[in-house]
């Protein structure tokens, strides 16, 4: 197989070759960024004064450490997000087989979603997503 034709074949069959364009894209994107940073480093003028080397913080003098403990609320939202994210993942295989699975598949998904809905209503009722307490 000639590699230029891989691009043409990609749409037809489901194989690793499908990922060839994505690979090219990735290499190109990473390469572009690396080149740009490198070239600007090489060609650009350098005036290293104390003020220039300071971390940019919108013109305000920076103070303290950036690593400060965040509120637990972010964490709660994040973990709930992960749970629903995983739920959504299960929809892809269902959506692809929507017709073939018929009513039994629909029932299975409905049950799964209703369990999640129960959980979601519970979360709302408990006020876990309320930002201001």
């Amino acid at each position: 197989m000639n590699w230029p034709f891989l691009l043409l074949d990609a749409a037809d069959n489901n194989s690793v070759a499908n990922y060839f364009p994505i690979g090219i894209q990735l290499i190109f994107a990473a390469g572009f960024v690396a080149t740009m940073i490198g070239v600007s480093q090489l060609l650009g003028p350098k005036r290293k004064t104390a003020d220039k080397l300071e971390t940019f913080a919108s013109g305000i003098e920076n103070h303290g450490d950036a690593r400060q403990p965040v509120a637990i609320k972010y964490f709660l939202v994040a973990i709930l997000f992960v749970l629903f994210d995983v739920e959504v993942i299960f929809f892809y295989p269902y959506a692809v087989n929507f017709r073939e699975l018929g009513w039994s598949g629909f029932g299975a998904v409905l049950m799964f979603v209703s369990f999640f809905l129960i959980g979601f209503i519970y979360i709302i009722k408990k006020g876990a997503l309320k930002w201001e307490d």
Binding site: I118, Y122, K125, K126
Partner: protein
């Protein structure tokens, strides 16, 4: 299937009960009713009257053994809720959630008692343990509870990782998740067993992980810290129903597989049993806190339950059921009294025999049962375990070691009895002791004695 579905639904009901009502006592009674319904639903399936039949594609198989264990585990939970319900109410603010998590644990228990494939086993273990991590951390303001939960979570997820590795290797070797319980074992020309290396390694990894879950030495290090750090009520649940379920899963997993592992299996298991008995019993002797002593004693009792795995015949299965009941009831009883006291030291029991004779009597019966004194349930439990081992042709030295350590255990259980009857003092009771609680404890004691006189009460469930 009834047990799995109803326990999951009961968990959902409990989640919402906290939103509907804020009265903690009401929530407790809803939980008790849900447990009764759960037991009833399970019994309907045990006797084949009614069941929700689902095509599980042979991933779950509902045999009498697992279903009877479900009944016993749910009944033990009901007794636990009735005796220690007050403390669950006081454990924290999210009472309804605690009950919901307990029901999810029971869902895990009922999966573990009937899985027929590694996938379901993994799912069951996860459903069993994840609520436990949360229950351990339920005393949020207490640093020790947090520490215990984090330790439990990190070590528990690590051991789950080892189990997944084992499952992956077994899957790689056999190409399926099914437990080949009756598969013939191919013998090589030299008479050795020609099993796949991958499968053997996978089984050993799963053994390590399961030994961790039931806190068998040398994988027991988490147990004292977690049992000690968790709120007392939840330690009681973890050390009883959950541990017994772990053993059921253990024996289901290894029943038909021991031939693959060859003669080394018995040596490995004998080593683990002796180490567990040694560490559990000897360390328990030196403890100053009753709660910590009980957590070491739970390691020691795990050593005895491992005999069921060693012999893994029908008698061992009967014995395991009996052991689960006797051990769970006794431990639930002791914890129910222990968490009524202000502190967990031995001295807090001083003079309990004078001020609360009924409670002291019930506690004594529970302790005697744990020690395995005749006329209590614990005696026949230990007897069945050892007898099944002898029947299977186990070595004599193992029997002697087990009996020796049972004798050692008498020492630390009697320290509590001694404190109750022979030491002066006033026990510092934290929560009020109602007459209902006393009656419940005495009934529990009578139940344990009844088991000691007629163990067939439980064993008949297995056959009729």
């Amino acid at each position: 299937m009834n047990a799995i579905i109803f326990s999951a639904l009961a968990g959902v009901v409990m989640m919402y009960s906290g939103i509907i009502t804020s009265k903690k006592t009401v929530i407790k009674y809803i939980a008790a009713i849900a447990l009764v319904v759960l037991i009833a639903a399970n019994l309907l399936q045990v006797y084949g009257i009614w069941q929700i039949s689902v095509d599980t594609r042979d991933m779950l198989s509902f045999e009498k053994f697992g279903l009877v264990f479900n009944t016993l585990a749910f009944t033990a939970t009901l007794i636990y809720v009735l005796l220690s319900g007050k403390e669950i109410e006081n454990a924290g603010v999210n009472v309804a959630e605690y009950f919901a998590l307990i029901f999810f644990v029971l869902c895990g228990v009922s999966i573990l008692s009937s899985f027929n494939g590694l996938l379901m086993m993994f799912l069951g273990i996860e459903i069993l343990t994840i609520p436990l991590y949360i229950l351990t951390a339920s005393d949020k303001r207490n640093l020790r509870s947090n520490e215990a939960s984090l330790k439990y979570f990190l070590m528990g997820s690590f051991s789950t990782g080892i189990m997944l590795m084992g499952i992956a290797l077994v899957y790689g070797a056999t190409g399926s998740f099914a437990l080949h319980t009756n598969a013939p074992v191919a013998l090589s020309a030299t008479g050795g067993i020609k099993a796949s290396f991958l499968e053997v390694a996978g089984m050993i990894l799963m053994f390590v992980s399961m030994a961790f879950k039931v806190s068998a030495a040398p994988f027991h290090f988490w147990t004292p810290d977690v049992y000690d750090g968790a709120p007392g009520v939840f330690t009681s649940f973890m050390a009883t129903v959950v541990k017994a379920a772990g053993f059921i899963a253990f024996i289901r997993l290894f029943e038909g597989h021991t031939a693959i592992l060859g003669p080394t299996w018995k040596i490995l298991l004998a080593f683990v049993i002796v180490a567990t008995l040694l560490i559990g019993n000897v360390t328990a002797v030196f403890q100053q806190s009753v709660k910590r002593m009980l957590s070491y004693s739970s390691i020691a009792q795990a050593g005895f339950m491992l005999f069921a795995l060693y012999s893994s015949n029908d008698m061992a299965k009967e014995g395991l059921l009996l052991y689960s009941v006797a051990y769970s009831l006794a431990t639930i009883g002791i914890f129910a009294v222990l968490i009524k006291l202000k502190d967990y030291a031995f001295d807090d029991f001083n003079g309990l025999g004078k001020t609360h004779p009924a409670l002291a009597f019930a506690t004594t019966v529970c302790l005697l049962s744990l020690a395995g004194i005749p006329l209590t349930g614990g005696f026949f439990a230990k007897y069945y375990m050892l007898a099944s081992m002898v029947k299977e042709g186990g070595p004599l030295w193992l029997l002697i070691v087990a009996v020796l350590f049972a004798a050692v255990s008498v020492y630390y259980y009697f320290r509590v009895i001694q404190a109750m009857y022979f030491k002066e003092g006033t026990p510092s009771v934290q929560t009020e002791i109602t007459s209902g609680f006393k009656a419940g404890m005495v009934l529990l004691a009578i139940l344990i004695i009844l088991l000691g006189i007629a163990p067939s009460l439980v064993l008949n469930l297995f056959y009729f």
